[in-house]
């Protein structure tokens, strides 16, 4: 015979778990999150799942519209471009490039930015004031402009674009880390640890980081959506990934010349970018909302 629970157990989930609970509550956000996961899986496994490779030229099947058109062909589900390359495969492969690489880029800038930011928060005086002003100036230059200039120095190509975007995102993380750490350092629990004799580094690692983690994650999602758009914009301008790479922005650039004869070559990559950015933004929104709710609770 099943018995009801007699003792009411109280659960005290950790902050991260609590965040997750709050996060789960909004259905729209969960939808965004599942799309995000879907994209991540696609990015990781696309070379295995694509029906054709992304650079194969099928010269007998040039400019096929997607399969639901009269002239379409089911073996090329989303049509082909002007060199006969399958749109579906290219879009899937592009997930690893535009979406996947944006994730990598954000991760790298996060780590570097946090390190620099914490060190800068620990120092004070003229050095730190100079760094602050320097950061403010860098932050006031539009990110795409800065990335374009860095690409102009390094040369075009996908890897240089990534370095450029990393360099552009680092100041954002430095700024946020520095502000957050400085704020936390003013709090009492840090003082308590210090009185106990803990070194700054130890305080940083054990006490402060777990508390600012949420802010960092929220900034990271913002940075990722901006990184996706920047990678695509640079690809579109011809400064980033070059054709025949299947990056979404470069695909769009290729599609412009065909806009009137093969509009799907423009619609599809654009929709892909929109989809990825919306998913990332939803996840970010959900995260921020969950943060707010847990702070209020």
């Amino acid at each position: 015979m099943a018995r009801d629970k007699i003792y009411l157990e109280e659960e005290f989930p950790s902050p991260l778990l609590q965040l997750w609970h709050n996060f789960k509550e909004t259905p729209v956000v969960m939808l965004g999150f599942s799309c995000f996961v879907f994209l991540t899986i696609l990015a990781l496994f696309s070379p295995l799942i694509t029906p054709y490779t992304s650079v194969e030229n099928h010269l007998d099947f040039l400019l096929l519209p997607p399969a639901w058109h009269n002239d379409g062909n089911v073996s090329f589900l989303l049509g082909t471009d002007n060199l006969g390359r399958d749109m579906l495969s290219r879009l899937m492969h592009g997930t690893s490039l535009t979406f996947g690489l944006s994730f990598v880029v954000v991760l790298i800038s996060l780590v570097i930015g946090v390190i620099i930011g914490s060190f800068s928060a620990l120092t004070s005086g003229i050095k730190s004031s100079f760094l602050n002003h320097f950061l403010d100036v860098i932050l006031s230059i539009p990110s795409l402009l800065l990335a374009i200039v860095i690409v102009a120095i390094l040369g075009t190509g996908l890897s240089n674009t990534l370095w450029a975007i990393i360099m552009v995102l680092i100041p954002q993380f430095v700024h946020i880390t520095r502000n957050a750490v400085t704020e936390e350092f003013r709090k009492d629990y840090v003082l308590a640890s210090r009185l106990d004799g803990a070194s700054s580094l130890r305080i940083l690692y054990h006490s402060v980081f777990p508390n600012i983690l949420e802010k960092l994650i929220s900034q990271a999602t913002l940075a990722q959506s901006s990184a996706i758009l920047d990678i695509a914009a640079l690809g579109f301008l011809g400064l980033g990934a070059q054709i025949p790479m299947a990056e979404w922005g470069a695909m769009l650039k290729n599609g412009i010349d065909l806009f009137y004869i093969a509009p799907w070559t423009v619609y599809l990559p654009g929709l892909a970018i929109l989809f990825a950015v919306v998913a990332t933004n939803l996840v970010g929104e959900g995260m921020r909302h969950a943060l707010k709710v847990s702070k209020e609770a």
């Binding site: 030229n57 040039l62 002007n82 060199l83 054709i243 025949p244 010349d257 806009f259 009137y260 004869i261």
Partner: protein, 541 residues
Amino acid sequence: MSILAVKQHIFKAMLLPFLCVISACNTENDKSLSNHSIVYCSEGSPESFNPQTVTSGTTIDATSNQLYNRLISFRGEQNTIAPSLAKSWHVTRDGKMITFYLRKDVAFHQTNYFTPTRFFNADDVLFSFNRILSAEHPFHQVSGGKYPFFQSVSFSNVVQSIEKINDYTIRFKFKYADSSILANIASDFAVILSKEYADALVLKNIKREIDTLPIGTGPFKLKEYRPGAYIRYAPHQDYWDKPSSLEQLIFDITPSSIGRLTKLLAGECDVIAFPIAHEKIKSKPELELEEVTSFNVGYLGFNTVKPPFNNVNVRQAVALAVNKQAIIDTVYQSKADMAHSLLPKTSWAYNKSTLAQTYDLSEAKKLLVDAGFPDGFTMNLWALPVQRAYNPDAITMAKLIQADLKKIGIKVLIENSLDMGSFLEQLSKGEHQSVLLGWSADHFDPDNFFTPLLSCSSAKSGNNRTFWCNEDFDDLLQQALETTNVTQRKRFYSRALAIISTEVPLIPIAHSKRFQARKNIVKGEFLSPFGGIDFSKASKN
């Protein structure tokens, strides 16, 4: 007045510019302006306003038939030579002397930088040609001293002297008879400039302006030029032939082909150059697509003085590896003929039996191994940055060739970052290993396909992008020029074509048609099978 009322007023005031914009959509007032103007979307900026100094089709289109006239021109279905600034001419039996009788009462342009005080006469003809021929001429070195077309047809070698008999008669004396000389004088490059203007420029010490602020006798004069943006032409009111009915002719410089098409579809341009998406244009009732069988060839040229293409086996290997049919289908969208030789079928010197390269990958690999490149090599391929009739999309073509050559182990690096001016400049310096370029003939004579492209003199002037110089080939061309007997000339040209087939300084890829799209309210003929466009007869309904 209550704040609410103030806010309502502010709201209405903000609505006004909005309505302004909406009403701009249906304005009837500027109809008159657009009814008498033609906006032509061109594919690039002209390098100069004087066709003598260039061979680029973009510059010829913009200047030659708009600003200038020549002594003689091509007219009619058969493209026969017809009078222009020369009313008539007489050629001696041995072909060594031509006398031109010039037209009277031809006025030069009057602009805000020059006012002519006399009509056109023999002095102007003397000036225009002596500038090219004589290295001591005060204007010879202006703008670089290069006259590529004339150098490539060895103009200064053929012409012995030019004499002024009287104000309206001029006599050309030649060192030897050249059957293509009349065609060369009728070409778009041999324009007539104003000596009076040149003298005025010398006084002000700004000789360069003869090529940048042009004065001619043509149906249009230059009003304003913004590089990279637009050229504004006004009609020449005192034009000796029938003046244009237009009030303005504007060249809207739009290098992107999709940009030109967009402007045509949105109504911002009346005529566009090198249209793409032909089906879309044909499906619109208010637009018209025209085509002209063009006398041209698109080719892949090798720089034969630099390794690895100084080795004929390597050149032949590449020729065997390029899939021309795929290029025709993709780049030309099947609207071109595959080229078997340099000459298109429509030329009377075309020879069916000229050996064409087949598509044979294993043979290509074998040749590479024989030539000492068993593992292939890396090469650069320069793709021309603008659309031309002979090549609507060099970058895609380069990518297809890149994929083709990968199959025999050759790695291709595509170079297309320059604008057309720098591109041609670097080519003439021989900076390339191979190039995708082409040639639109300037007149019907088959010599125009050979001498400017592959002769030794052309290699010296930099117009022969292959820098290939073959004595036997040059001899054949010379012999073909010295006779007017068509059968004999045909024989010489077949032998010349055979040499090209074995030596492969270039791979001819396609002969294409030249297309143009316009709104059907624009009337008049302005495309010709060779040479630049001509808006003198254009008008709007």
